[in-house]
Amino acid sequence: MDLVARKKLDIFIEGHALARLEAELGRAGFKGWSVFAGIEGAGAHGAWRQTGIAEGDARLVIAIGAAEAADAVLAWLEAYFREYPGVVAVSDVGVMRGDRF
């Protein structure tokens, strides 16, 4: 199995910013991403829990792509996180069909 090296971003972000982040991912060159809903968490802005009415709308966005694309998104996130809660972690992954990322 020949795997190609790519970057994987795990981005924890509030729901209201999702559309803007997705636009940014597209602009930066990501060809795909997946979004998951969290149920609780904690961070510098305190703890939250998705209970009852819509208080918690934390999202995990997983985006796999080229290093340059990742860099572009990280730059956008750096500015974004100066204002809003959230966290991003970058890791190395291998993928098949590298041209699709």
Binding site: R20, T51, G52, I53
Partner: protein, 327 residues
């Protein structure tokens, strides 16, 4: 007179909806693992809004859209927009809250709580007091202006979202789901009128609405107790505000409503709207608009203090005063 008011207050305490709220609060306080699945809670709140809007519209159609609606609507808009300025001044004067958090908190108190309104309407129905269908429209109108006021108050200071992130904000503020569903259902009720009401009355009213309210209030009780427990100590000032502001706001609302010549039921409902604080639409908007405001302050205040206070004490109290004023 006083007797009948106290009776109604007593009956209110024993209404199933209030008791289910108490049950939830107790279970939450005791850290029971009882929970209402979150999508069920969201669906219940959509259902309640749909019912309130639709019934309001259908009733407004039946009784005609009068000048009353225009007047009460204008009063509601004014209240929702102006109250945050007053609330902000008080909150800042009391000290302890930074500018941004005070502005965000003020927005919550200018806006309204759909479920407090629903509980108030059920209280009136149980007491046999009539009110206008168009109060549902007033409710919808009062959701949003307070948010705009808070943005003005906070200005472009430290706490507000920067330009780049503001594009999405106006949509959130003006087209938030709660307002759209309330106003939209009001128009659906208005357009479909008696024929529509005949088809849907068993869905939007009666036992089903009551039951959904019970289930939702059970969840609100759980939530309020858990929120209170998770809260880092609130300053006494914040607590005092959460309990005293509703009284002040209701008093002002009653006087204004009296001056406008509203009916007894409408006066009561308007006071309830003024006294209530938002805990769905406004927090969502504030997360976006004033991200530096401390949600650990405004959520417990509106959800865990003002909401139960209005539910248990406020509703019968405001109605009692309205009765005295209306004489």
């Amino acid at each position: 007179m006083l007797d009948s008011i106290l009776n109604a207050a007593g009956a209110n305490l024993l209404a199933p909806a209030i008791l289910f709220f108490a049950l939830g609060a107790l279970a939450g306080w005791a850290k029971s693992d009882l929970t209402i699945p979150d999508q069920a809670a969201k669906t219940l709140s959509l259902y309640l809004m749909l019912c309130i809007g639709f019934k309001g519209g259908a009733e407004a159609r039946a009784s005609g859209l009068s000048a009353d609606l225009l007047a009460t609507g204008a009063l509601g808009l004014a209240f929702s927009f102006l109250a945050p300025f007053a609330a902000f001044a008080v909150l800042r004067a009391m000290g302890g809250l930074d500018r941004t958090t005070a502005a965000a908190t003020a927005a919550h108190y200018g806006s309204v709580s759909v479920v407090t309104f629903a509980a108030g309407a059920e209280f009136l129905r149980a007491s046999g007091v009539a009110f206008s269908g168009h109060m549902a429209a007033v409710l919808a109108l009062m959701e949003t202006p307070a948010i705009l006021a808070a943005l003005l108050i906070a200005g472009s200071g430290g706490g507000a979202a920067s330009r780049t992130h503001r594009s999405a904000l106006w949509r959130e503020v003006l087209l938030n789901g709660a307002a759209v569903l309330l106003i939209g259902s009001f128009f659906v009720g208005l357009l479909s009128g008696a024929a529509g009401m005949e088809r849907l009355s068993g869905f939007v009213g009666g036992a089903m609405f009551q039951g959904a309210l019970c289930l939702f209030l059970l969840d609100m009780g759980l939530l309020a107790a858990r929120r209170l427990a998770e809260t880092r100590a609130l300053r006494p000032g914040a607590i005092a505000f959460a309990l005293a502001w509703p009284l002040l706001s209701a008093a002002a609302a009653l006087l204004a409503a009296r001056a406008l010549g509203l009916s007894l039921g409408d006066m009561t409902l308007f006071a309830i709207l003024a006294a209530s604080a938002s805990y769905i639409a406004v927090p969502a908007a504030m997360r976006m608009a004033l991200p530096k405001a401390d949600a650990g302050v405004y959520i417990p205040m509106s959800l865990a203090m003002t909401f139960p206070f209005n539910l248990v004490v406020g509703i019968p109290l405001y109605h009692g005063v309205a009765v005295l004023l209306a004489r």
